[in-house]
């Protein structure tokens, strides 16, 4: 049985704003299934004496003091923006696909 269905891949594609054609959905569903299978093998080696972990570092409470440091100028910040207006990032209409 597949670990991921074609419908789930279509749903993920929509959430990721990827316009996938039908044959692409078939293609990626099969690929993702292999990937999920590979990841699942990690779960097989987990034993009761190994606590679940979401992080490679055995650290907690790593903070910085609440101190201000200079960042970028607006010119630097906007240098790589595809479009700029009034020192702001200009972006396409936001709710286009939902409206």
């Amino acid at each position: 049985m597949s670990a991921i269905t074609r419908d789930e891949v279509a749903h993920l594609a929509r959430l990721s704003r990827l316009a996938l054609a039908d044959e692409e959905l078939d293609h990626f569903a099969a690929q993702l299934d292999v990937i999920i299978g590979a990841v699942a093998r990690v779960a097989e080696v987990a034993a009761d004496d190994i606590p679940p972990s979401s992080h490679a570092l055995p650290l907690t409470n790593v903070y910085r003091p609440d101190e201000v440091r200079p960042g970028l100028t607006p010119k630097e910040a906007l240098a790589a923006a595809p479009a700029v207006e009034d020192d702001r990032f200009r972006v396409p209409r936001i709710l286009g696909e939902e409206a």
């Binding site: 749903h11 959430l15 990721s16 704003r17 979401s54 992080h55 570092l57 650290l59 907690t60 409470n61 790593v62 903070y63 910085r64 003091p65 609440d66 101190e67 201000v68 440091r69 960042g71 970028l72 100028t73 607006p74 910040a77 906007l78 207006e85 009034d86 020192d87 702001r88 990032f89 200009r90 972006v91 396409p92 209409r93 936001i94 709710l95 939902e98 409206a99």
Partner: protein, 495 residues
């Protein structure tokens, strides 16, 4: 449907999600400043712009403030928890995700007690978690300046990454027709707790405190809650109350006609007090949260948490109960002072030497009336607690009566100077000179022979008109009680 009719048929269940921007110097995950109103994109860096390779580091002060908020709201503090990525495609966050917390909030299971209509309502707190604020989008084109109909948007990321605490209540049933007032009282109390803790400036008009208001209705007697809507970013305490009231009426009208409520986000309109549909909730909810790999877990040392708890300031409700005892006022009096933010003012006036009853009388009477007329909060009136205390002292010392005192207050509010300056400039001293008063009385008796005759004839009540005449002739500066005595004496009548 009219609100009263809606409440006859349905019972509301409330829920509130409140976002509070913390008043830290720097952002949550980078060292950019957080000053409100700075020119666009002047408080940004590679981290909050999500430039490739930039990594977040958590702000220690924000962690501490969040724990203090949790403690003040009687929450348990997680011994271990993580940040999580909330994934969504929306340009208000350049990362395409927001760092938030998901199933492991820093604080959980608390409560906040609020007073409404003379009774205490306990609002259960589900969770308090820490996240980062988003950038500010301006929608360009279209007729309304809103998202719908806009041609494109422009984004300022100064606000992106400012530490944001989200405080979520459990569903609040049983408020019945007081639902709007309970929602407002909760938001008010929460704002005061934040102020007492000094963790945020909680300015709703600047967006440093924002309420999302959930409302659902169920038919009277039903046990299963209805579908709820979430009204976003309600930006004043008054709007919190109005949005609940408006949404109850709107939902009741739909349900009464056999319709169904759509679970959705709605936008509140300040001008009409109504809401309109935003995005549907199902659409937005698939955030694919997962533990944030760029940050290590938070594991507050229980000893440190205990220290923070011991060092909490006196909380607003405890302070109110203390002041209520000290001032000897009723629950309802205290609540009405609280409702118009008069408690600090009365307390400061008492601290400046006024008796509590007098301080309360002026702030809740004449000054509340003037603030109401001017449409401004009481605290914004151009008069200080010290000045009210001075006026109280002048009344107590016999230099002013209440009527003259009102004129003094008016003068101060008009910018004519201090109470003493207004008294001098307007000549508002009570007439203490018996000779002067006597002359005024003689004139009034001469001008009102008929009334004088009635009093002589035994109709003592008629003296009131004569006292009124004396007050008028003295332009309010006579001591009314003394004038009455003198009038009766001159008319040869005793009581």
């Amino acid at each position: 449907m009219p609100y009263d009719e809606a409440l006859e048929r349905f019972e509301p269940v409330l829920g509130l999600e409140t976002h509070v921007e913390l008043g830290t110097h720097s952002k949550m995950f980078c060292a950019c400043p957080t000053t409100f109103g700075a020119p666009p994109n002047t408080q940004v860096c590679p981290v909050c712009l999500a430039l490739p390779g930039a990594l977040p580091t958590a702000n220690a002060a924000a962690i501490e403030s969040t724990i203090r908020i949790g403690l003040a709201l009687n929450c348990s503090i997680a011994e271990w928890c993580r940040f999580a990525r909330k994934n969504y495609f929306y340009p208000d966050m350049p990362k395409n995700y927001q760092i938030s917390q998901y199933d492991e909030p820093l604080c959980f299971d608390g409560y906040l007690d609020v007073e409404v209509d003379g009774r205490t309502v306990r609002i259960e707190i589900e969770r308090v978690h820490l996240e980062e604020d988003t950038g500010k989008s301006t929608h360009v084109g279209g007729a309304t300046g809103r998202i719908h109909g806009a041609d494109y948007s422009i984004v300022d990321y100064n606000r992106a990454g400012i530490p944001l605490v989200e405080i979520v209540t459990k569903p609040i049933p049983g408020t019945d027709r007081l639902a709007p007032e309970v929602a407002r009282a909760y938001a008010t109390e929460l704002r005061e707790v934040m102020r007492a803790l000094g963790v945020s400036d909680v300015r709703m008009e600047e967006g440093s405190m924002r309420c999302d208001v959930n409302v659902s209705l169920m038919p009277r007697g039903a046990t299963e809650w209805g579908t709820r809507t979430e009204t976003k970013n309600v930006n004043s305490l008054r709007s919190v109350e109005r949005s609940v009231r408006g949404e109850i009426s709107r939902q009741a009208a739909i349900l009464a006609e056999g319709g169904t409520i759509t679970q959705e986000t709605r936008h509140f309109h300040e001008d009409t007090g109504t809401t309109t549909s935003g995005r549907s909730k199902e659409e937005a909810q698939d955030y694919r949260y997962f533990p944030e790999p760029d940050l290590v877990p938070i594991a507050p040392d229980p000893a440190w948490v205990a220290e923070l708890k011991a060092a909490l300031p006196e909380l607003p409700r405890v302070r109110r109960l203390r002041l209520q005892q000290e001032w000897g006022v009723s629950d309802l009096d205290m609540e009405s002072m609280h409702n118009i933010d008069a408690i600090d003012l009365v307390e400061a006036t008492v601290a400046a030497g006024a008796p509590p009853a007098d301080a309360r009388k002026w702030w809740m009477g004449e000054l509340a009336r003037r603030a109401n007329e001017a449409g401004v909060p009481l605290v914004e009136l151009a008069i200080t607690p010290d000045q009210i205390a001075r006026v109280c002292a002048m009344v107590a010392g016999g230099a002013l009566n209440d009527k003259l005192a009102r004129q003094v207050l008016e003068g101060v509010l008009n910018g004519e100077g201090t109470p003493d300056e207004v008294v001098a400039a307007r000549g508002l001293q009570i007439v203490n000179d018996e000779g002067e008063l006597s002359a005024i009385i003689d004139q009034v008796l001469a001008d009102n022979a008929a009334a004088a005759e009635k009093v002589r004839g035994g109709k003592i009540a008629a003296v009131g008109a004569l006292v009124g005449g004396v007050m008028k002739a003295s332009r309010g500066k006579a001591d009314a009680a003394r004038a009455r005595e003198l009038l009766l004496e001159k008319l040869g009548v005793s009581e």
